[in-house]
Symmetry: C2
Subunit: 264 residues, 2 copies
Amino acid sequence: MYYVLSLQNKQRKSSSICPFVSEQVIDTLPAKSTGEHVYVEFRHERIAKNEMICRSQAFYQFMNQRRTLRFFSTDPVPIEVIQNCVLTAGTAPSGAHCQPWTFVIVKDKIIKTQLREVIENEERVNYDHRMNSDWIKDLGPLMGTLHVENEIVKPYIEEAPYIIIVLKQQYGLKNGKRIAHYYPMESVCIATGILLTAIHNANLVSLVSTPMGAENAIRSLCNRPDNERVLFFMPVGYPADNATVPYRNDEYLRKSIEDILYIV
Amino acid sequence: MYYVLSLQNKQRKSSSICPFVSEQVIDTLPAKSTGEHVYVEFRHERIAKNEMICRSQAFYQFMNQRRTLRFFSTDPVPIEVIQNCVLTAGTAPSGAHCQPWTFVIVKDKIIKTQLREVIENEERVNYDHRMNSDWIKDLGPLMGTLHVENEIVKPYIEEAPYIIIVLKQQYGLKNGKRIAHYYPMESVCIATGILLTAIHNANLVSLVSTPMGAENAIRSLCNRPDNERVLFFMPVGYPADNATVPYRNDEYLRKSIEDILYIV
């Protein structure tokens, strides 16, 4: 990715941002037609094999720096950054290209306070009734100072400048008519992986949380229709000055390539 | 991301790859302890707000170039690139940090031929019995010349130098003991979104497909245990010289920001 160069070299035009993927990908004249469907040539410029290796390794090192944060600064962040990250998530592939996702950016302080109340109350119920002791034990090390002696507090919901709510559209609505969505769960989660990458690329931190039990209340607070389901609740912003993350000892290290990759 | 600079400036050490995320994130001495759990300070260097905006916009433009491909070149690709992309996927967050994913890279020609046979046969059944007419109609425009006059062929399964099989671990196994996994579907799909980003960053193309009906046969061909489920089947490589992609007319364009993003 050459865009850092382009930032430092303003006279370059934006097409120099990704010189190895032809701008022609964004559509030129139709190249081929099959029945009623029209296709365009996909133009692609190869790079040297050693550059591919370097690029892939550097991107791994870059992404391996990402940590999930639970301590956010209240400092403001330009909303354009968050909007660009959401647009990037929207480039994800999806079942039959249905793009079954909705993203809500919450910046309103009052709504954030209401979200915190709903989520902390439901989390109390989760810990007391919905989650088993193994689950609570497994989560313990990740919670830092937020869950101490049975106390559950999530101040970051009010402290982070933005919350991104990721919703899955069970079905679509077009001119009031239902349209089928295929693999919406898989599609929206893939988009969320791209969203996380974009947030990290923007030098911000986040937390992907699943607000168990609070989904409908969150959807109502965000004023979303009932063909949508809340999947993820993601505070986004700068880390707090005193932010900590779990120490990665043998138990919490990321798995090694031998543990996750097999070649046949 | 400065790693392109670092590629062009070999004497820089790899820590110069992401100057804005401190290497200290990869763990220094414990900073804080809560009961039995140990935490480290999360160090983070901010960048200028206008740089965040440029970076996020450039990354969006870069990712918006990605297209799903169904026509692959047989040209070889260094396996290190694919390994790095898988390692990058492995940096994804996951429920209680269980990392419930397995990736299999298929490079063996015979196995690829067997995979093609299994998948084409099941796809025939999908079209005849498992999918309704709307679904088949919705997929039509995406299939290009592969599904013409009821003929279903997937030559790319044999042509692509690698197939990445993404598997979800329903539960983990540690020293023969079952360990619970939380939100494995969400976690593995998020990792797949990061995998796709890494493949695009490496200047390669892919197709995220869901091999309906063939999951168990694929798992057996990859010799994976039955706590794992095949989620995605992803050929990876260079596009074929004559590769085409669906023409993005009004109907197939990516949704606009107004269609996917709401701010409250």
